[in-house]
Symmetry: C2
């Protein structure tokens, strides 16, 4: 007998097994699973009353709130498709994504109502605008809609190949692309995560990772699948993270490296309050080993790195702990943990290949592109057959990430393919240079890009953010780089900044730095 | 992108990730994953040379040896179907199953060659007889076949709905039925098990459970999926279990309650040698809370109960540990652990229903039948559409197990439907009576069945096996039962035996006891 693989099956089970367990904490609000799923059902029946049918798209612009979480249940269970939008994007991007996805309903957090009101006349296909909190002219009131609805929902018959969500990529350079994630994609990412990362009904999960980012790496459903508790955190700052970690007895959180860095660099008094033993899943960009070493050593937290992209549901590889790793020093252990690791159990086959598609040597040195095929790969880009075909050429999804494979089979990203610096005929990994510089005690963050150079064609240039209260000169940093890197990898120039340009998901926007430097050079 | 859900995908991944880890220990033989999977490939190409094609059946009659384990890889990866036969069955049953499955090849352990030779003329469809160890006239020599073959295999394109195995039920009363397990069935049981029971590459698994029993509850592939080590154990006795547990640093094993009982009752000197912290998965029959309490208390092992049937791939429910259980006394904790628990993550929906198909009250008292629908349910009985339709009536698979549901949602089996004793209009659970009697210090094992009674129509009768060196009279046991049970549940008669009749998988054959008692009464 076959029944569809879908996150909704785990929700059905949670409703049955965990009705009285705490499902959601959001500020003062606390909901049991019965209360939370009843609210989701009311929102489903309200959406049906508003005319939303199977296959229709419902967009959300919201931080990590209970209302946003509810959309990941209410929308799919009536067969509709959830479109979670990065709230840090511009109004112009909002309009593009809403129109491109063809959303009939747009649900918006109070913080973004003004922005959406300004682009309303550019959104001819949207039939209903829903304010997720409070009432406002021209907007449906979410809580009022729930109050008017019953928990009786006509649940759709779902096929596992049906669309569950369209997640728009952050689009560092081009227009966002709509990644089509199926019920099966997400269900298998959930099962794989649970197999790798054992979780129990006692789990208390802190929402540091944005829910919009590939459905919170599917944790919007994973936590529910085990009967754990979602602790919402609308705005991530170290003080809130440490405060909630203590008060809500947090056991697990997900964070991009940039969040880890801000946690590692929080004031001493805050860090001292941190509970020990919190598990952290990190992804979204390769973390520096030094960051891992600090968070593990100073906070006593336990970091596991996973790697993936929105297009891969998202997990492609995991830095799987092995028995032999436990015998390593803290530093050597952190070096391993900074690798992206090995094939995720449910993802499919991943390889690092050269330009001809041949697998590179597992020598820790030969750079190739990470490609993958299997159940983690999206159904395609929405309404973009050419973009899909380009990404899927040869039957493999091309990640755009440049990596080496170590003799133990662990993949390590060296760069985005387009960020590899070619200097005097030598390939330089900007990530390797960054990893060396960030070990300098004054350096909080650093980004290295290739800039035009008369003699070498291109040469590395470092953009540095210093730690609060610390200082370092260009000369000092250049000497530090010389002591720790091959000569040709040492940055030719250093620029000090107060922060680095990043996407909402913590990815460095190196193209901004290249452009910015060019502008600076012109001045 | 979709690729088929199959255990073979986890094998492909293990070959890539764990080539140098220890895969198999069998006596003096030790194989890495590279060596082990190379042997499987050689056997695959040998089978292809022998003419085995996609969809063909290959039967095995063997205890827990590396050669038996190899069949679970070599046969499916060429698209053929593995038919593991219970080696404790009669020659007549062997012939029935081999013929019914239409096996073209039969692989046999040396211990069963004579038996198969005796029925050879009843097996007209078998083209090749393979001796799994040593050479013998009329038999292909397994190792010689491997030596003549290469590791080049034409792997079949598998669909996840394709048959992976046909597992014949132990058939306590009727002819064995061939349960059709698909690649998807098994893959999801594997993923669910890994989600519930976190396992790592450091896992060392002891093969106490027969591999033929529903593919060793899919552990033939689960252990490989995590890069753990299979430690084979052809014959289970407490001395071997404790010896291997120490020498091979065992971390995990599966065992029917009857094996747990023999472990719990092993001589003191053996039990003292046992390593602590071994995890035990138990299923196959409801264990008594007293057995769980003893194994956990005296050995420091940690027992998790799962429940299922061959027809459900096999896991249907798991006695999931909850945070609140940790606050219970050892005895109260064991009472919980003796329950069959809640829906297994990947199994589908299970319910306890009355004769009309309505769910019973969750009151811990109302008895109904356990039914299930979802991905755990078999594709059907092989060549038996009527048997399939009967088992699947109303779209639910009917387990034949009578159970109650406690207010916390945990299912607890009270009996096989056909073993419920109806005495003076009252339903008596034979398992409840057994659970009370087994707490008497002299009692090792007990089985209670209903026998005809002039006044009550039917009345409970206890068959008792005493612990070695212990003694108890019928009067003592009756008084003990009166002190611990409602009066009408106290057995009307007691019979002392040296062992209970069981199937190869540890299930009590109560029909034998009913018949036996009848014969005794006649004397």
């Amino acid at each position: 007998m076959e029944s569809p693989l879908t996150p909704l099956e785990f929700v059905r089970r949670a409703r049955r097994l965990y009705p009285d367990r705490e499902a959601v904490v959001d500020g003062e609000l606390r909901l049991t699973y019965r209360q939370f799923l009843d609210r989701c059902d009311r929102w489903s029946s309200a959406l049906q009353r508003l005319g939303v049918c199977q296959g229709d798209r419902v967009a959300c612009i919201a931080p990590n709130t209970h209302a946003h979480l509810e959309a990941f249940y209410a929308v799919p269970q009536i067969g509709a498709v959830v479109v979670p939008i990065n709230y840090r994007l511009s109004a112009d991007d909002f309009a593009y994504i809403i129109n491109h996805s063809g959303a009939r309903v747009v649900c918006v957090d109070p913080a973004y109502l003004d922005t959406v009101d300004r682009i309303r006349d550019q959104l001819p296909k949207v039939e209903h605008f829903v304010a997720l909190k409070g009432s406002r002219a021209g907007w449906l009131d979410y809580e009022a809609e729930l109050a008017e609805s019953t928990t009786t929902v006509e649940r759709s018959l779902i096929r596992e190949s049906d669309l569950l969500s369209i997640n728009y990529t952050s689009g560092t350079t081009a227009r966002p692309k709509g990644v089509m994630i199926t019920h099966r994609n997400a269900a298998l990412n959930i099962l794989g995560t649970l197999a790798h990362l054992h979780m129990t009904p006692g789990e208390r999960y802190l929402w540091t990772l944005p829910m919009f980012h590939c459905n919170g790496w599917t944790f919007v459903w994973i936590v529910t699948a085990v009967g754990g508790t979602h602790v919402c955190l609308p705005k991530v700052d170290p003080a809130s993270v440490f405060d909630l970690a203590v008060r809500e007895k947090i056991t697990l959180l997900c964070a991009a490296p940039t969040i880890l860095i801000s946690i590692a660099n929080a004031p001493e008094t805050l860090r001292q309050s941190a509970p020990r033993g919190v598990r952290v899943l990190t992804a979204g960009a390769p973390p520096a080993a030094a960051t891992i070493e600090r968070v593990e050593g100073e906070l006593g937290w336990n970091i596991t790195q996973v790697y993936g992209l929105t297009e891969t549901s998202p997990f492609m590889t995991i830095c799987e702990p092995r028995p032999e790793h436990t015998r390593l020093t803290a530093r050597a252990g952190a070096e391993i943990k900074a690798r992206q690791g090995v094939e995720f159990l449910t993802a499919g086959e991943s390889r690092v290949v050269d330009a001809e598609g041949n697998e590179v040597q597992h020598d820790g040195a030969t750079v190739g592109e990470i490609v993958v095929r299997g159940n983690c790969v999206m159904a395609g880009y929405y309404n973009d057959p050419e973009g899909t075909a380009e990404a899927m050429r040869g039957g493999w999804f091309h990640s755009g990430d440049a990596a080496v494979v170590h003799p133990d089979g662990y993949i390590e990203i060296r760069d985005r393919i387009k960020d590899v610096i070619i200097s005097g005929g030598e390939n330089i990994s900007s990530i390797e240079v960054e990893g060396a510089l960030v070990r300098h005690p004054a350096v909080q963050e650093v980004a290295v890009v290739g800039l035009p150079h008369e003699k070498w064609g291109e040469a590395p240039h470092a953009f540095v953010v210093l730690r609060q209260g610390a200082s370092a000169t260009e000369t000092e940093l250049r000497q530090f780089a010389r002591d720790n890197l091959a000569h040709f990898k040492v940055p030719q120039g250093f620029t000090f900044l107060t922060e680095l340009p990043k996407t909402a998901t913590g990815k460095l926007q190196k193209y901004v730095l290249r452009g910015g430097r060019a502008n600076m050079a012109k001045q």
